[in-house]
Subunit: 133 residues, 2 copies
Amino acid sequence: MNPSEVLHSHRLKSTSCREGIVEVMLQASRALSEAEIKTILGNRHDRTTFYRSFKTLIEKEVIHQIVIDKNEVRYALNLPGIHQHEHVHFHCSSCNQVFCVEPVSEATMTLPSGFDVSETEIMLKGKCNHCKS
Amino acid sequence: MNPSEVLHSHRLKSTSCREGIVEVMLQASRALSEAEIKTILGNRHDRTTFYRSFKTLIEKEVIHQIVIDKNEVRYALNLPGIHQHEHVHFHCSSCNQVFCVEPVSEATMTLPSGFDVSETEIMLKGKCNHCKS
DNA sequence: AATTAAATGCAACATGGTTGCAAAGAAGAT
DNA sequence: ATCTTCTTTGCAACCATGTTGCATTTAATT
């Protein structure tokens, strides 16, 4: 899967900035912050263009946010075949990495009747196997 | 429980801005955004003061964030007796309210060995019983 | 190659995060 | 109650980021 394929499959024009972002994310094996992506691209694009491209990619669901907290947000590609509506992530407080975890059992919560859940996001925080002291 | 009791129990000086914030949050029956709190306080405080007070309240764990997404963050008091390390929230995409949900069963995920979970945050998104069409 | 709708780059402005510093205030000691 | 000390406040100032308008350029179709 290359950048323009990704873009076209979402009915987006293939432009240099969008392709750059998707390229970086395809090659990264982990979720990246916006700043990391910008740095890797070496400020090759105007900041407005980057801002708008990024916004589009989120709106069109090419990529999604992984929010650790208000000031710590990562982004990852929406790859086909991955459950978009039940995310489980693990954030290591030590090395700051985010790992995707395969959800094993649908977490069943008892909700008041009439509540319809369309999306479940689970964020686990702690130490990963490398950082465990 | 009044604002200064809350502050003192966290070893924080009781100041007008901090008390205002805690007061508003004690009276609110739901999680509020920073902007809502500011508005209710009627810009009575300098923005730097508000900023620093707010930061302190988070750092000292008087309040905690509930992150819906990058641009949608709510805050709620850490009340004694509430599980701080296993939050379950429900966000209604229609009325935009956040409900606290009592976690029923500890959600057990299969993690690679060596992963230590110290905090679990679960965000359910969908429609609440009032907004269900 | 011509057409057309969309994306770009730039300027400009708004907002929010952040720091330094002198003045004001809170809380314990006298 | 007053003094003392440490903290917080308010202001100015700065920087990063979000956001929009608009003329120019570009992608992708005819």
